[in-house]
Symmetry: C2
Amino acid sequence: MKNALASLQRKLAQKKYDAILISQPENRQYLSGYTAHDSSITESSGYLLILKKGSPLLLTDSRFQLQAEKECPAFEVVIYKKGMLNLLEKLAASFKIKRLAFESEYFLFSQALELQKICKNKGITPVPSKDLIEKLRVQKNHDELSKIRRSVTLNEKVFQKVFKGLKPGVSEIDIALRIEAMMRKYGAERPSFETIVASGPNGALPHAVPSRRKIRTGEPIVIDMGLVLDGLCSDMTRTVVLGPSDAFTRNIFKIVRQAQLKALQTIKAGVQCCAVDKAARNIIKKKGYGDNFGHGLGHGVGYAVHEAPSLSPRSRKKLKAGMVVTVEPGIYIPDWGGVRLENMAVVQNNGIELLNHDDTFLNFADS
Amino acid sequence: MKNALASLQRKLAQKKYDAILISQPENRQYLSGYTAHDSSITESSGYLLILKKGSPLLLTDSRFQLQAEKECPAFEVVIYKKGMLNLLEKLAASFKIKRLAFESEYFLFSQALELQKICKNKGITPVPSKDLIEKLRVQKNHDELSKIRRSVTLNEKVFQKVFKGLKPGVSEIDIALRIEAMMRKYGAERPSFETIVASGPNGALPHAVPSRRKIRTGEPIVIDMGLVLDGLCSDMTRTVVLGPSDAFTRNIFKIVRQAQLKALQTIKAGVQCCAVDKAARNIIKKKGYGDNFGHGLGHGVGYAVHEAPSLSPRSRKKLKAGMVVTVEPGIYIPDWGGVRLENMAVVQNNGIELLNHDDTFLNFADS
């Protein structure tokens, strides 16, 4: 955290910003350790104001004062009563801020209009900033990687416990609830996203919401789950079949698994993101299912469950060592269902460290 | 929904907008019935494009195509592959949109910059719009009120079941999990916000996150919970004590309850929001706890769990019949804990319809 703050302050000096206002919740936690969770951008539990020099500030309202002071001893906690921008106006004057950066990718247009008004009154130049902290975050350090490993391990433990108890006749919702309850029981802060359990035809929706449908034998059941542990996220998808699976299903599993393996073999520092996507996509295309794989191959994972880099067909960015990505090809067939397999990997100079060790899916794929 | 769309189209005509882009998830559901849930503003599951005349459009990506088509038969579902703004550019041309409104209070600054660029290229005027749909939503119709009643009733049922099972030694997290699991078991779509269980000193944080602390006899335990049923939210806080409570605690309960009753008596159409806050706040102040009530008295509830109107000391807006508000005074004492009581009420011309019937708290308050 201290290193991150120092790096950021160097960036501020380079860019001639006097300060930056941090509104993005994961950036806020990354820089301060503050664990408050925002249910929506319109319900912020606080902002950071990082000055080029001097102590960093955490701005919040009285509801969060005790928590902020407890969790962020290195920060000066300042309470706003009439809204954050009202307080910011005063702080900008007392710290003689002339150039103030703000996070344009996590700041509402209406807030920015207000900010611009304040800045105009006070002779401050507001500067929309993009990806500044995200870039600091994208290559994980030793401590973050070990936290991510623990997050992944716990996620697999929960999956395996739940998988062992799966029986036909249980509803998707009940399975999702069991998963999320177990996550927290074992110490996770929360699920890193809403758990997906999509059985049979429901699996044709990659982001299906768990329904009251009861799972049956013989059909593919997509389980996409992740958790937050010590601030760091995990994300894994397994597709499972209860009882015997037919040849068609086993073949779909095989294609998806081959696509995943190919992508994992392609990943190393210096490779373009789109090349990784392409490696997997080409295999699915060749087998005739190109139109049944409508989403990107994967995404970065860290303080946010979806962050840079994006392993999408359109991203020409290059992978760097220490990035953590998901690889999650899928085949979705309307009225039949879907098969998606998702593992996480750390990008290294010469390949990857595979973070997932669960190999449940091998039971369902033709080899 | 049909009426809402027709009202909105009349508004568009009045304001001479050719179309409005809807990004706010609750507005999207209110107008279309689309139930997809966005975990964050940066992970939208779709947008509406409502034209001054003609069929409304729902723009989304392939992950949500089946769901959108199923849930929104009155909408033309259009899929974007290269981002929503890229599709919007094409649609704006084909529908000859010249003045395009967008929701400035739920639109990222960075997105707005992109939108402005597109508009400039195509000779379109982008118009930041505020509260247009929120205003349509704020007075609930018959159907919405009955859904809210059902949401409140289910929320109370869950509370009462969980309350009956409360025993010393159970952790806050376990209670919160039990509540959320029961909500879904009984048919709620999801909790309307992250359930708060804050026991003993933890209750001094109005928005405490449930911890591993085990509840004890004799201390106040704040339980703030709500759910979403058929798209409509409920929100209720009860503070409870296991076993005998001391005179100090009973007196705090009494003050909070008196403040709540006073506010509920003050509410009717035409009264300023700040007057309702003041009615409750004055009672707490007179008893010497003014500094221990740091948040506003209440908020509107509907498709969003926090929406207009705000019963805050600063809002001079007037209540209207059909609004639904929470009334939730609290007293928070560092190192001791907190007592908050929250009920929901429908604003009527001559008073209120009280939506909550649970009176558990009466057991803990001196009369």
